[in-house]
Each structure stands twice: as C-alpha cells, then as structure tokens.
Amino acid sequence: MLSRTIRRSIAAPIRRNAFVPAAARPAFRCVTTDAASSYADKEAVPKEDDKPFEVRLSDESFETYELDPPSYTLNTTKGELKQMYYDMVAVRRMEMAADRLYKEKKIRGFCHLSTGQEAVAVGIEHAIDKQDHLITAYRCHGFALMRGGTVKSIIGELLGRREGIAYGKGGSMHMFAPGFYGGNGIVGAQVPVGAGIAFANKYEDKKNVTLALYGDGASNQGQVFEAFNMAKLWDLPIIFGCENNKYGMGTAANRAAALTDYYKRGQYIPGLKINGMDVLAVKAAVQYGKQWCAEGKGPLVYEYVTYRYGGHSMSDPGTTYRTREEIQRMRSTNDPIAGLKQKLLDWGVTSEEELKAMDKEARANVDAEVAEAEKMAPPDPVAKVLYEDIYVRGSEPAFLRGRIPEENFYYDQVDLGGEQKPVART
C-alpha cells in the first residue's frame, strides 16, 4: 500500500515525458525467476559465431518503477552466448572447489559462496567494459573472476597464499582487480563508496558506469539511502544493484524489510526489477542502465531477483530458515546455467556434444588452476611481509610497532622493493 502511495505521488511529474501507450508495454506481471524464459527464432540463428541475432526476452523479465523498461529484445551472438555459458560454469566450478577446500579445512574463516547467483556477475560483466567500475559486498568471488581475476589467484587468496589476488592479505571477502573495488566486509558500507567511484567518474568527465551491489539485507542500511540521496542530487552515473537472494543471512527478506520491492526503494530514483536467474535479462538491463548513465540521466536502482543455493556462509547449512523443498525447487527449475543451456540447445546455438565439451573444458581449466593454487606457497611468516603495504610504499612511517618493542619494524632497514606488481592486474 505504501508503495502505491509513493508511486502515485511522484508518478506524474516523472512519467510525463516518458509516456508509452499502454498497448506497447507488456501487461504487468511479476518478474519470473525462470532462467529459460527467453526466445529466439531457431531459423534466424546464424551459422557464424560472431554474427549478431536477436533474442526476445520474456515479458516477465522486468518490472519497472518510474522507468520505461529496457528493450525486450537483445542482440547477441552465438559466441557471446557460449562465453556466458562458459563463464557461469567456471564461476560455479570455482565456488564448488572453494566449498571442497573449506570442508577440507584448507580455507580459514568466512567463505561466502554465490552458487545459484552466477547469472548476476556474468550478465553484468557482459554488459559493461573493463573501464567501468564495480563494487560489491563479501560474496565476491564470481565478480572478482569476471572482472579479471584468475581462478588461481582467487582460490590462492582463499587458501591464504602469497600469489593470491590480494597476496594473502584479504581472504575471501577482500579481492580487488582493475575496475573492481572489492570485496567489502561491512554490510552496506560499499554502497556510498560506490557512489564515490561514480562521483569520481563524473568529476573527471568519464562516461563510465559504476555498479554498486549489495544484498537484500544491506538494502535496509541507512547509508544506502544516504548514497541514493547524493547520487540523485548530483546525478551520479551509478546503478545501485540489490542482489535479492531472498535471505539476509538467515532472515527472510519480508522479515527484515518493510517494503521488499527493493527496486522501488530509491523512491525518487527510477528502478528496475530483473530476472536475475536469466543471464540475458541481466545483460539487457545493465546494458540499458549503462546507456542511461552515459546520457547523464543519473542513478538507477536495480533489483536482481536471484537465489543462493548454499547457506549464508560455509558454517550455515542454510536449512533452518527455509525448506529443503524450496532450495530443491529453485535448483531444479530455475537454475541459471541449466536455463541458458536449454536455450542454447533449443535455438540450435550449440549441440549437446559441444556443451559437454565446454563443461569439460571449464571444469578442467578451473580444476587445473585450483591445483596450481594449492601448490602455491603461503606468505613467508616474516616481518617484512607482515608489515608491507599498510601504507603506500615509500610513504611509510619510520617504524611500526610489533607486539613487543623488539619486534618493531623499521621500514628503512628493509628493502620492500618498488611498487608491488599486482597479480590481479595482469
């Protein structure tokens, strides 16, 4: 009811110039989480991998808030579809490897896996450029991989290895790559930081878009609304994105949020709810948002409706606050990888054999990199490694204190080398 009031009260001024005849708009329905709801004419699919063709998205792919929906058609190529499939399989395989390594007690501390949510990270990456920016919370492995990290460096980080993506200093929640600002562990704090990245882009007259992602739990954080306010006030080129996986840790969305329509929670910011299980819908939406931001229209609030198969973190079996049937139903009927796979077969983009070969290739590649990561050495347990990179090299204080004065670390007595060659940025 509240949402209806808000909608009506601000609908008129915003929609005035954006009127589309009702008939042209799809009938209002709820967003599906069907991962295989897109349609392409099999006859129109070209032979060549790089020749574009049109895919029609389900009219249940989006719900809008004070916004005209993105185009329900998406131009893609066979090559891109296969790459998307490969990427999702690779992310899942990597997460499964992390799951195994955690259970083997080789990964310490927290480990939050994104199994089931792959379409969000992969769909976004296929819609943006390397010059665009992304920041997310602690469920970050898939994004780190898509932004240019390698499986080896990510798994290496989880294992606390020297050649990990953050040299073993960050762990599961803190991974960085060019255009990727983490991997942040404080719920909601990355959202204003994301607005700041967008601010910097605008300040420097760059046309790049910034995506700031957060979960349905974080969307209740006060600072998220503070970020919304400034982003709208200053028309920052940012797409806020709530990855709604239905549970903030173990608390169901409707037990934590007075309004679970997260795409409407920007109030004065247009919003879009997206089928986050369909990688094509995600790509279409983000592509549209990138264009919107580049045109200087200000921020958007997206909600990617998705589902996490596993628990919140490795210590959570994920079954005390939801039923096994619910998880099973999502896995068997809404899986983003199975959904895309079905479409690829239906449309004749690829054959069963080729898909199997791709699965095999993705698994082999990931497994090989995981094996390499396992062989990597941990950081030497020496002061030089412990104390490096607390401050930018060359700007350190004379010394930092150890546990006892004898352990004090004097920067001028050790050669840390020049700037660290970033593993992730190669």
Binding site: G168, K169, Y181, A189, P192, V193, A195, G196, N201, E226
Partner: protein
C-alpha cells in the same frame, strides 16, 4: 614558476602580500569572527607575518587545489555558507561548485562517498563539521579508507584527507566536545596529525593532502581564531611539514611536557609560570603528528630531563597520555627520576555549565601544579 602563477587568480591569494585578499569580498574579515583573526595581514620587517590558524588551513587547501585538479573539498556547509567555522571561506568563489561541494548532513554517506572517490583516484578533502559527527562515518574512515590498501595487498591506495575540529570547544556540552585523537591514533593504515600553530596547520594539512594514504587532520575550534607568526618559508606554496616529527616549542632541562593541539599553548603558558614560580625549565614538545608518533623526540628529551608529563584533553582511559607514558616507560625507564605522569580530560561527559566544564579539561594552573609535583618543587 612564480611568474606563471601570477596569471592564475589564485596566485593572488597565494602570493605573500597579505593585504591583497581585502579586494576579495569573500575574504574580508567579518564582524562575526573573533577580533584576533582580523590581525592577519600584519607583516614585520623580517618577513615573518601573523596569520590565524583558520587562514593557514584555508591557504593550505587553496594552494593544493590550485596545484592539483584532483583535489576537491566536500563537506557540510563548506561552499555557500563558507564553512561552519569559515575555514573554507572563499574557496567556492575561487574554485567553483565542481570542486567545493556542499554535502547533505549525512556523514556516513558522504564519508563513504569521498572514500570511493579516493579509491577511484581523486584526492578528496572530506571536512567534518566536527569530529564528533564523524562518529557516524568512523566505519568508512577505518574499514573503508584505512584498511583497504593492506587488504588489497597494496594494489588499491586511498589518498584522502579527513579534517575538521576535534576536542574541546566552549560551552557545547558532551556531544560536541570529545577528543578523538586516541581513537584514530590507534588505527594502522591511518596517519593522524593535530596542528597547534598556523605553521603547523598549513604545513601539516598540505602534507596530508599530498600523502597517498588516508590522513586524519584533527584541528581545534578554539585555535581557529588565534594568530601565530608564519615564517617566510611557511608562507610559500611548497611548505610542508613532514609527518612523524615533533617540534620542541620550548627547550628545557628539568621536565619534558609532551602535548598536542590546543594543550601546547596551555603547556607553554604553564612552562613560563613554572619558570617564574619555581625556576623550573620545562621542555615543551608539540607532537604535531600523532601517527606516526615521534618517539625519538620524547626519548631524547626525557633522557635529558629525567621527567615526563603528558598533557592532553581526551578522556584519560586508554588515551594519548597513557600511550606516551607507556612508551616512556618502555624506552627510557632507566633515565626517569620521577614516575611519568599525565594531565588529561576528566572521565566525565563534558558538562555545559562553565565552571563545571573548566573542571573537565586541563587548565594552565592545573598543569603548573601537577608539573611542580612531578618535579618535586
């Protein structure tokens, strides 16, 4: 270079002839400022000139903004209002609303936003109206700014300056009077400075803006209007004070007073009084930089005097004074001829009523009396 810069409008302010700003309406001293701040512009024959801390901070920001496009100021009331304490006065007129930005009153949000801008490569100056309000943003300062470089394995720097008044003010009660030096001073990854004089203010703030790490500049509201001499070197636009170096404000042989921010002034007055009353020569060390801390200066001084008194205005428990006493004991215990001591704020939420408020913070008389006891006179 000077000739080149003449063509920049900002060069007028930066150049040494102080009376020039009178041409700029935005820089005219207003009646609302304490009279002491209007004494700026006075130049002695030696080239030393008086300047308020407020103007020194303003000049530091203006010079750095002039020299680096990436530097911008964002905070509450920094632009059109000319700064809640007038520290950013005139910057909007000079640099425009792209670089001098009024923020909503949402510390957590704009604290985070400026951190994000720094991660993306800009060099923000994030002004908090006071550090009491920065508590709403302390997560961003510590978790997002201070720790990111280390967590990323050194691939993600964060060049940001957080600044604003900190510590005791007059008659503003508990929520507006707290000293956060110990809080920020305990965080690895941050650098923290606390200027006392105008030279401190300019040199430390400029160094903070240039430093590639997150720096917290803890100013003090009661110092803003005070005038201090600025040497010729300090008047130049390349003047910076290196972090981690304390300044001996007054040499002495009987007692080392280690202090910071506004307490430096109180300690200097107390030192004169100690000399007058007891013939005691106190050495007053202005820390300037809290993190890194100039332990060497403290050690060398205590080796000479054999006595150490820390003077600060924060709450006593786990504070700057405790840290200095601990360091003194660790490093120069054998040189001490008396137990190290501290004068701090009282363990009381700051009261409003004046006489009560006076009892909550160090006073010159209290420093004199306690120092006399430490020395045993």
């Amino acid at each position: 270079m000077a000739a080149l810069r003449l063509f920049h409008p900002a060069a007028r302010l930066v150049s040494a002839t102080r009376p020039a700003p009178a041409l700029r309406t935005a820089f005219r001293a207003t009646a609302s400022l304490p009279s002491i701040s209007r004494s700026r512009g006075y130049a002695s024959s030696s080239g030393v000139k008086e300047m308020t801390v407020r103007d020194a901070l303003n000049e530091a920001m203006a010079e750095e903004m002039e020299q680096n496009e990436k530097v911008f100021v964002l905070g509450e009331e920094v632009a059109q209002y000319n700064g809640a304490y007038k520290v950013t006065k005139g910057l909007l007129d000079r640099f425009g609303d792209k670089r001098v930005i009024d923020s909503p009153i949402t510390e957590s949000g704009f604290g985070g936003l400026t951190v994000g801008a720094a991660l993306a490569g800009l060099h923000p100056i994030c002004e908090f109206m006071t550090f009491n309000f920065a508590m709403q943003a302390i997560d961003q300062i510590i978790n997002s700014a201070a720790k990111t470089h280390y967590m990323s394995g050194g691939i993600q720097p964060c060049n940001i300056t957080f600044r604003g008044p900190n510590g005791f003010a007059a008659g503003v009660a508990a929520q507006h009077s707290q000293d956060y030096t110990a809080w920020y001073g305990s965080i690895p990854g941050l650098k923290v400075v606390a200027p006392y004089s105008s030279e401190d203010a300019k040199g430390l703030l400029k160094a903070a803006i240039r430093d590639p790490n997150p720096v917290v500049v803890l100013e003090n509201e009661l110092l803003y209007g005070l005038s201090f001499p600025m040497s010729e070197a300090a008047q130049k636009d390349d003047f910076v004070i290196p972090f981690g170096k304390a300044k001996i404000e007054r040499p002495g042989k009987d007692l080392t007073i280690v202090t910071l921010s506004r307490c430096v002034g109180q300690s200097l007055v107390a030192a004169e009084e100690l000399k007058k009353r007891y013939g005691v020569e106190a050495e007053v060390i202005n820390l300037r930089s809290i993190k890194p801390l100039d332990v060497e200066a403290i050690v060398n001084s205590v080796k000479k005097t054999g006595r150490m008194l820390a003077v600060e205005s924060g709450f006593p428990s786990f504070g700057v004074g405790s840290e200095i006493m601990a360091l003194t004991c660790e490093h120069v215990f054998d040189h001490l001829t008396a137990p190290p001591a501290r004068v701090t704020g009282a363990e009381v939420p700051t009261p409003y009523a004046q006489k009560l408020e006076e009892m909550a913070f160090p006073t010159e008389e209290l420093i004199v009396q306690y120092a006399a006891r430490v020395v045993g006179v």
